[in-house]
């Protein structure tokens, strides 16, 4: 079954602390993994994708196929990072290239 699991509903850290948002997936083929972010009252927007191995706003995520994980990390959290974060996967096997989302993790960065 195709599934994305984000075990933490809420993650609260202090400004300047490292942050890691966990994501594990279940997929039979070779998916593309994404992290989307949703700031308060705004649309879902792409944060980063595994295939480009980029760093956006200081966030990185490495695809670990052995552990089927795609954890999102940032060494020093900022208050403006407070948002809802969704891990997502997509691949031809999901049918119509639909995106499958995890339940999301709300990150709260305290001053």
């Amino acid at each position: 079954a195709q599934r994305v699991t984000q075990p933490e509903k809420l993650l609260s850290v202090f400004k300047g602390a490292p942050v890691e948002l966990k994501c594990n997936y279940s997929y039979s083929g070779s998916p593309e993994l994404f992290w989307y972010v949703q700031y308060s009252r705004q649309r879902l927007q792409l944060l980063l994708r595994h295939i480009s191995r980029e760093s956006i706003k200081g966030f990185t995520a490495d695809l670990n196929k052995g552990e089927t994980s795609f954890h999102l990390k940032k060494p020093f959290a900022q208050e403006e990072d407070s948002a809802m974060y969704y891990c997502a996967l997509r691949g031809p096997d999901t049918g119509g290239f639909k995106t499958i989302f995890g339940a999301g993790t709300r990150l709260f960065v305290k001053a």
Binding site: E32, R43, L44, R49, G96, F97, T99, F101, A103, G104
Partner: protein, 114 residues
């Protein structure tokens, strides 16, 4: 930067009424989607649409739902007879579906069924 746009931003309707949610995908995209998010829950896939037909739908997308691309720009979701449990945020998305590309999402329509 091109965006997916959705109208209206908020729709209140009485139970049993029909609603149409509208979306304008990004112009060169070929794949279109509807998702919904019930308050406090995850973003759920409803339907994907390509080449003027549904390519996949979830079990949520029953006979009360339909999608249409009535012209070259709009993509609509119709709910024929709304129920209280249809209250949710509905997101439209579009993509080109090349490797390394992602779906772009609209800002959502909040549907409230009373």
């Amino acid at each position: 930067e091109p965006e997916v746009t959705q109208t209206p931003s908020h729709q209140v309707t009485q139970m049993g009424q029909e609603v149409i949610l509208r979306c304008v995908p990004i112009s060169n995209h070929l794949y279109f989607y509807w998702y919904r998010q019930i308050l406090g829950q995850k973003v759920e896939f409803l339907v994907s649409f390509y080449n003027n037909e549904i390519s996949e739908k979830s079990e949520i997308f029953d006979d009360q739902f339909s999608v249409e691309r009535p012209d070259g720009s709009n993509f609509t979701l119709k709910i024929r007879s709304t129920k209280l449990e249809d209250s949710a945020m509905y997101f439209c998305a579009s993509s080109v579906n090349r490797v390394g590309t992602e779906a772009f999402f609209g800002q959502g329509t909040r549907l409230t069924v009373v």
